[in-house]
């Protein structure tokens, strides 16, 4: 036989739980309420002759509805953070553009971004650095003699070689853009 206020106690508890889950994923919200409803049904089935006090004790052992809702909320927020694809920001777009137009500034922005991995940053920086070093006066004593002997020996292929070296920032930018489309923001796994 049901307790005198069984419906009020149980539905009241479930309503508070449902209210606490407003804003969470609708399917998870529905599932949790149904799971808790099933738990209450199983707990009631174990009672010989239930009273209001028994039902209140079942709800009490389940915990505060707000606490359960927070469990879902925190898990949901972390899961969303972990799986959400990264949305491009101006930092990454500027980093790619300036890698071509003003390599040192672009390289700094690439390093500041959280999107690319350390490996990707090193690869892009190294590619862009080659062209920059070629045009940088201080590196001329090192690069000049090498190119000075290498380029004439290439003959007809020399323009292609120099052009390739000169377009390396474009390669670095293209690589960064490609990785950007395949990268997601670092996620956090719920402990």
């Amino acid at each position: 036989m049901s307790a005198p206020h069984a419906t009020a106690i149980i539905e009241g508890y479930l309503a508070r739980l449902d209210l606490g889950l407003v804003g969470s994923d609708p399917q998870r919200r529905r599932e949790l309420v149904e799971d808790v409803r099933g738990h209450i049904a199983d707990a009631r089935a174990a009672l010989v002759d239930e009273t209001d006090q028994d039902l209140l004790a079942i709800c009490d052992r389940l915990g505060e509805p707000g606490e359960l809702a927070r469990e879902v909320g925190s898990a949901s927020a972390v899961a969303q953070q972990a799986s959400a694809p990264y949305v491009w920001s101006w930092l990454e777009i500027s980093a790619i553009a300036l890698t071509v137009m003003a390599w040192p500034v672009g390289a700094i922005l690439v390093l500041l971004s959280r999107v690319w991995t350390r490996r990707e940053k090193v690869i892009a920086t190294a590619i862009g650095a080659v062209t920059f070093a070629m045009g940088f006066p201080l590196s001329a004593p090192f690069i000049g003699p090498v190119l000075g002997t290498l380029v004439p020996s290439l003959g007809g292929a020399a323009p292609l070689f120099v052009g390739t070296l000169g377009s390396l920032p474009l390669v670095a930018a293209a690589y960064l853009a490609y990785r950007l489309t395949r990268t997601t923001a670092p996620g956090v796994r719920l402990a």
Partner: protein, 110 residues
């Protein structure tokens, strides 16, 4: 200084739940009863359900619905998946190492 073990317990609870599902499929209330036999394991019974839902989303447990003897809706039974078995085995090895290290450290500090 009071020791707050709630976070530690929360982190370990999922493996205790998985261990309970290792041998056979169990439903939520049954699982709560078993965990309740260990003092302090489950502070709020209801928190088991968000945890089970997360384990299911992560593929560590599988769900099957079985009809109940009463007229109510089918019960959800949880059982450990192959991925869950591997995760639990891995945790057992890590835990054995960690427990030994902590016992040694705490014992040596006395």
């Amino acid at each position: 200084m009071a020791v707050d073990v709630s976070q530690m317990r929360k982190g370990l609870l999922e493996f205790c739940v998985m261990a309970q599902l290792e041998g056979e499929a169990r439903y939520g209330y049954e699982l709560v009863q078993r965990l309740g036999e260990v003092d302090g394991m489950l502070t709020s019974e209801g928190t088991i359900y968000p945890l089970l839902a997360r384990l299911h989303r992560e593929g560590l447990v599988a769900i099957e619905r079985r009809p109940t003897t009463s007229a109510g809706p089918p019960r959800k039974y949880y059982r450990l998946s192959a991925t869950g078995h591997r995760a639990l085995s891995s945790f057992r090895r890590e835990w054995a190492t960690l427990r030994t290290a902590i016992d040694r450290t705490l014992g040596g500090a006395r």
